[in-house]
């Protein structure tokens, strides 16, 4: 069968069986079985272990991780640590083109994951902003995805090691995997934080790493997915997303691949997306409290700490940027408890005496500065601006070393331009890759949906309902890839009218349908082994095309996908 030819010998036997059974199954219920592979599988050979670990990683999110947060995550992190150890390149190559023979070499022989991990970012970087040609782009794509997955996998051990009370445990985990992480995330921020952790010299650096960890975890938890509605799912997906976003930045700009971490000072741990899950918020807040305590102990009380605390309390009042959540409450409580930060509008208060934070933005006047109203307001403004610039500095990779507003602004501008160019390039590439894809807004929305959790919920049903529009409008409102994946215009009897494509695309639809069928099948198989967002794409598709699509697509014999186009 074609499926076996794809995966070759590297396929795990159980999974292969399931895949074939999946492809021949007529019901959509077998898909969850495929996706819910038991990740506590018995140990096996190296490659198989990688695959199983990865498949369990991407599949167990929906079922297992909710059960026991800490232990399973730690075990999963251990597995991922082994993944990082023993050749993430082969795994990623497998991910992207396991069915292609050109990656058999890295697949069979991952001898030096160090060098290849370090080389791949370079290659990925060089190759990515190339012409919109699928084949060289395809060459570079897995390479560029290597550090991505490596980072995503590398980050998970850390995230897994963190429990609600194990701040020290997290730090303990840091020296645990320095080697792996230095291999997996060379040139990225993790290296800096890891080195800081292992050297054990600079505590602020360690705490900075912890802060970054904190922030990332808060981002993870903030981006809970909806399909499983479980913290582990969102954690992993968004971790992969986070890593991929960072990788996306680094791929196009080599010089930006510098350490981002080590920000023990002005780091804003509650990022834009505060956690929505109460359990995770509690976890978040607890670790954040620990973080704050240790920060105040270890970081010298200079202006930076003041700024940090100013940031903390400012966030309580500045609800535009940071969604008011329990994080802010915790922060408020913490700062009040410490009693260190405080202040009222500086009209009359100009000394360093700490006061409990009120609704106003309070600024601590430094020694020797003018304290009249005008300059105070000016200083408040400047500190706000510098705070935002610090946040931007964290966002743009490789900007910690840059000092000065002008250079910083230059970096930001370059980064935004490069991101926009990447979007353009990717849209061109998608246009070549998928001749039938006309718009992606719904798909992208769902990607975002996966990341942001419930934010898109009101949008989505309206788009599902608007599928009856004529095509030009439909191109805007309704799904692109989805509708094409689902809808065989020749078989509209079975499908719900939601995904009705107009006759504009029905001409080539029969041929498209074959390819789409094949795609669906491949999606079902790739969904196990791809990164989380690919799997989310697959799950998006499957979630909405469940019985009808599968029955429609699988009713055709598998010989139909022999060759088309």
């Amino acid at each position: 069968m074609e499926n076996d030819a794809f995966w070759g010998s590297n396929w795990h036997s159980t999974v292969a069986k399931r895949a074939t059974s999946m492809s021949s199954a007529a019901a959509g219920q077998s898909l969850p079985c495929l996706l819910n592979l038991d990740w506590k599988q018995p140990p096996m050979s190296n490659d198989a272990d990688l695959e199983t670990a990865l498949s369990s990683l991407v599949s167990s999110q929906s079922s297992h991780l909710a059960a026991s947060d800490g232990a399973e995550m730690r075990a999963l992190g251990g597995r991922l640590g082994t993944i990082c150890n023993s050749g993430e390149i082969s795994l990623v190559a497998q991910l992207h083109s396991a069915h292609s023979s050109c990656y058999s070499t890295p697949l069979n022989s991952p001898p030096k994951p160090n060098h290849s991990a370090r080389d791949h970012p370079v290659q990925g970087r060089g190759g990515f902003p190339g012409p919109a040609n699928p084949s060289p782009g395809g060459q570079f794509m897995p390479l560029s995805a290597d550090p991505w997955f490596a980072e995503g996998a590398a980050r998970l051990p850390r995230g897994g090691g963190m429990s609600s009370s194990s701040f020290a445990g997290q730090l303990g985990l840091l020296p645990e995997t320095p080697g792996k992480l230095s291999r997996a995330s060379s040139g990225k921020s993790l290296t800096g934080s890891r080195m800081g952790a292992t050297e054990n010299g600079n505590e602020s650096q360690v705490l900075g790493a912890a802060l970054m960890e904190m922030e990332m975890r808060s981002r993870f938890r903030a981006s809970l997915t909806s399909e499983a509605s479980e913290p582990g799912n969102g954690r992993e997906e968004s971790s992969i997303e986070e890593a991929s976003s960072l990788r996306g930045a680094s791929d196009s700009n080599a010089r930006k691949r510098k350490a981002v971490a080590g920000k023990g000072k002005g780091k804003e741990a509650p990022s834009l997306y505060s956690a929505t899950n109460p359990a995770n918020v509690r976890l978040n807040s607890l670790s954040f409290l620990l973080l704050l305590n240790s920060l105040q102990f270890h970081i010298c009380k200079t202006g930076e700490l003041q700024i940090f605390q100013v940031q903390m309390t400012e966030e309580n009042s500045d609800a535009k940027r940071y969604k008011p959540g329990e994080i802010n409450a915790v922060v408020k409580m913490e700062t009040e408890q410490n009693g260190d930060v405080g202040g009222e509008p500086r009209k009359e208060d100009d000394d360093k005496v700490p006061e409990p934070p009120k609704d106003y933005i309070h600024v601590r006047a430094r020694r020797g500065q003018a304290t009249d109203a005008h300059s105070l307001a000016e200083r408040v403004r400047r500190e706000k601006i510098s705070k935002r610039m610090k946040f931007l500095q964290d966002l743009v990779p490789g900007c910690n070393k840059v000092t000065g507003k002008a250079v910083m602004l230059d970096e930001i501008i370059n980064y935004v331009q490069s991101l926009q160019r990447q979007v353009e390039f990717l849209s061109m590439k998608l246009a070549t890759l998928n001749p039938q894809l006309n718009n992606m807004d719904n798909l992208i929305l769902k990607q975002m949906y996966q990341e942001h959790g419930t934010m898109l919920q009101p949008v989505y049903p309206s788009e599902m309902a608007s599928a009856q529009y004529p095509y030009p409008l439909q191109g805007i409102e309704t799904s692109g890839l989805e509708s094409q994946l689902v809808n065989p215009p020749s078989r509209t009897v079975q499908l719900p009218p939601l995904y009705g494509l107009s006759d504009a695309t029905s001409q080539a639809s029969s041929m498209n349908y074959k390819s789409l069928t094949k795609r669906v099948l491949l999606l079902s198989q790739l969904g196990d082994f791809c990164e989380d967002d690919l799997q989310s794409v697959a799950q998006i598709v499957f979630r909405h095309n469940q019985e009808t699509a599968f029955s429609a697509s699988f009713s055709r014999p598998n010989a139909s996908k022999s060759d088309e186009n």
Partner: protein, 134 residues
């Protein structure tokens, strides 16, 4: 497929549509941000065939960034104006801190969009390889 010219034109058209659709999805995903509203507005204008790209271009930021030196100030202002042009809806933002806020949010959204599109491209590329190899 068609001839090269037609294919290119179709490609461009498709890619443009994909890009705008992606932008739309991006904008919708971050509701309530200024740049997302500006993006939607811009897209609606484009759809209705009105190429009014200079809606409020005159609203340039005036505030000083707190740097005392005069030439530095000018340089900073120039860069801030560039950033204003980059971020959708940035020209309407007057304050630096708001602009930086929007920039940060826009950067995050762009990162997510890039990762999503990249994942999609990877997936589709995998399909294409399979189809070619079968």
């Amino acid at each position: 497929m068609d001839t090269d010219g037609k294919a290119d034109a179709g490609l461009l058209e498709r890619s443009r549509r994909i890009k705008t659709a992606a932008e739309l999805g991006l904008a919708r995903s971050s509701r309530g941000r200024h740049w997302s509203r500006a993006l939607l507005l811009r897209r609606r204008l484009l759809i209705s065939k009105e190429e009014t790209t200079t809606t409020t271009r005159a609203a340039v930021e005036v505030e000083k960034l707190g740097v005392e030196d005069e030439p530095e100030e000018k340089m900073l202002q120039a860069r801030v104006r560039t950033l204003q042009r980059l971020v959708p809806g940035g020209e309407e933002i007057m304050e630096a801190e708001r602009l930086f806020e929007e920039t940060a949010d826009y950067i995050e959204a762009l990162q997510e969009q890039v990762s999503a599109m990249r994942a999609l491209a990877c997936l589709l590329h995998g399909f294409q390889r399979t189809r070619g190899g079968s």
